[in-house]
Symmetry: D2
Subunit: 300 residues, 4 copies
């Protein structure tokens, strides 16, 4: 199977490497020459343009940084819509807003081109190991057709629903984990201010209604759990910048559908501020650091 | 052991009933005559005042609605501070802010009176069954002295730390569960707006970083889990009004210690609004109802 | 001067009417047949498509409901970009996000087509009276070329800066007025809860640092100022739905530029909720109604 | 007239100095020895305790940092309630929450002691110049009795309503100005990110619905108005720490009365964070600095 792979950046490279390793013939493209060079070193053939990568393959995979990039690569001038033949299957593995996925899919469908959204979780580590979780939206038969390629990159492939549903699942999950982590950080800052031992507080909450995956596996207080990012100076893990992006997409998706949300935007803006103040490339649990109390002599 | 029990309201009554049932001699007081009548029916002796209830007993238990009530009953005119003899042990089981617990304890200590804060979780159901979780702040030896009485009312007694730590643990737990529930509600409103099946979305998130106790045991979408409040028209469970109160206390505690918090106040004000709009006595997961999207023809 | 006018909805119709009245020859198009019929009754010629309206005129004016509409009408299949000849001047008077204005302008420029963003304020009343304020972004010479047509629709034409600046000015203004109005509503709900006379409170604040246009001209408490929407059952004025939209655009613009914002999203989501709960077509000052306190017996 | 003056800190000293200068005989007390020394240098007699200051005077004035201090000085052990004779008039000029003012007044009234709340605005500059604005809550006749002393310290004395109304007026005003300033800062950060000239943007908004006192007199962008704190490196003016305190009191007052508020807590927590990150003693308009965008290569 010949795969056109567009977007060979930080995440795309190890994903492409696994495809090549598993025997897929790959034709790669990226607007950044260095990224394309890296793809070539991994054993992919170089395409000179999106058009070329999309035209001469059985399956198109895209892994791009933003909704605007996806829209441009698929629908823009010299985009996939102009080069992919009717019947072609495209899989967008970028994390973007589900509305964009649906608009792209609808426009492609007019040309007979098929589309799956298939964002991943697991980070660079999971991409290298080939153990990504892949949440897929689109037609079940299309997913079966793409499955061999997806299985080369990830170990947990979940069919969530129609086009857009993969993105929805990823963003909704991160909305909850990102918001819950802020709540955990706030709780432990309060506990600390009142002199409560964070390990005891963790034990109490772990057995009560506040139990959350993020407290168990990503505790924001250094030293409570030696395996967490916080215990290694917040080395990611999952970067603050990416959490700010994903929560931003979730809030934007809510806006598009007129859904009121209050906790997600508050959390999103906190990650944005933490990024502005130097924590963007730290693990997202570093918002705990950001939420430090002001000095004892400040009026209350 | 003779217990002076002050505050025989909705929660206090079943707690007092268990004390009497286990053989404690109880002297009860409440400013509301009907609440005091109910206590008498349970087998407690009537006290004519706080002073009387606190003076003639071995252990004072208070179960009051607010920080202001606790401050008044302990430190106000004709309060416990004026009647309890040196050495007396007082256990406040109210949910109030930890700063108030600490101030009350400090003032009592000047008179040689000992104090534990021991808020509960488990609701009226747990109070009736005698299975409350009791989070205790204060001296370990004092807790041992109070333990027989506490064990009559609850099945899980946790010593969290110094005075105030019981309240901190309860409020921090509820800060997380209350905030996380809002995040879950927002996520499922977005999912619904994009046509994603809530059961599938639940399965995906349950195995990912968004897993939380509140989604597993208190799912806000009716029908996903037949055991949750949402599946019985949001009959509580834990009322919106109480979540608004507890998050308010948590935010107030943060303010007192100059800790910045952003998700907790956003969640708190949402519960407050839901209460203003008729959901105060529903389960707190009914904020899902409150977060309904506006109509399709509203501009975006 | 022959004007192609695309988007003859609620606002577009009275604007078009003024153009016709002032002697402009107009060729109108709208996807909604009823809207196009209305335009024809006003004296405009019917165009059968965007392409036709844009091809046969000296100046293209667009007045559309959303960023997605603007993007589709200018850049989509059979859009203006495919029909407008090089040198053509387009004026988009829609309220959309400035990033979209800039992207559209950049794409048009590649084809030699010129673009101004020129959103308006003043509402349907101002559109009918021809007294709209028009905030313009783009080239000064292009504005001079469009000025006669703009002057037919508005009385206050402001050149704010380069393309996108008109949208920025409108959204930033509404970010402030929409957020400030919520603050005013919150302040007067607190004042009312403590029994303070709203007229006296208004007088005090009007002379102090809290003085704002929205309190002076759009006071949210009924009866304080007989001229405000609140004093006529919140008949708009400026609808809650439109404020929710504009604040949403402002927050989205902030996200695109990585600017952290906290008050704007909180206000935006409140207008969204007020809309969900029936106040969407009331004046935006009706959020005061929405912020009603919960009942006296709710725990605090 | 002999005045007992309790609380001779940063604000209290210049206020006391004006009283002495205008011929009032003053008996001062402060728990901080250095503050009491300073009062003595200004010509006041030293009192050895609250009790002494309150017992031997015609009028008691208090100027204290927090609600807890006011509660302790009036109602605590050896507090004013134990020493002031029936009929004595007390004026609390502290900025505290109105609920505390009302509780203190109610308890004093039981002893026949009269109480006014009379918070000030104008800062240390206004205190030194004797030009403070004084917002008064309480009985009109009591205000007349206190007026000569108040007139020695301030030039604008406003009777707002019953006890607590002075505090309500101050907090509500600052709720609006503090929230509006954040909105202004957000708007100008967005404008800057899109390359719009802040002076032109200011001119546009000043004539539109976003016009606010804080933009006109406290513009957060350095250089737009040479007279503002922002143009002198955010030297206060009104400190971030004090705005965090006042908004905290406003939010707390809302909580006590079950009023939902959303913009005020978002603004409050932003000032708190700005304080935590080193801006506490800068002018509150320095939140503009705090709201800087994250770097251009952060994902969106």
């Amino acid at each position: 199977m010949k795969v056109g792979f567009i977007g060979t950046g930080t995440m795309g490279q190890p994903m492409l490497a696994n495809l090549v390793r598993k025997g897929f013939e790959a034709l790669a493209y990226d607007v950044v020459p260095a990224a394309l060079d890296a793809a070539a070193k991994l054993g992919a053939k170089r395409a000179g343009s999106v058009r070329e990568a999309a035209a001469e393959c059985d399956l198109v995979i895209t892994m791009l940084p933003s909704s605007a990039n996806v829209e441009a690569v698929y629908l823009g001038p010299a985009g996939i819509i102009e080069s992919a033949m009717a019947g072609r299957l495209c899989v967008d593995m970028s994390t973007i807003d589900p509305g964009t996925s649906q608009r792209v899919a609808a426009r492609l469908k007019e040309q007979g081109v098929r589309f799956l959204d298939a964002p991943v979780s697991g980070g660079v580590g999971g991409a290298v190991a080939g153990t990504l979780a892949i949440m897929v939206g689109g037609d079940a038969a299309d997913l079966e057709e793409a499955r061999p390629a997806l299985a080369a990159m990830g170990s947990n492939i979940i069919h969530v629903g129609a086009v857009g549903a993969g993105e929805v699942a990823k963003l909704c999950n991160n909305l909850i984990s990102g918001s819950a982590l802020v709540a955990v950080a706030e709780a432990f800052r309060i506990g600390e201010a009142f002199g409560v031992d964070p390990k005891i507080l963790t034990d109490v909450i772990a057995k009560s209604s506040g139990a959350t995956w993020v407290m168990e596996h990503g505790h924001p207080v250094p030293g409570v759990n030696p395996k967490t990012a916080s215990s290694r100076d917040y080395a990611p893990g999952f970067m603050t910048d990416l959490m700010a992006k994903d929560l931003g997409l979730a809030v934007s998706a809510a806006r598009e559908k007129r859904v009121p949300v209050v906790v997600a935007p508050a959390a999103q803006q906190l990650y944005r501020m933490a990024s502005s103040h130097g924590l963007g490339r730290k693990d997202f649990s570093s918002v705990y650091q950001f939420l430090k109390p002001s000095s004892d002599d400040a009026p209350v």
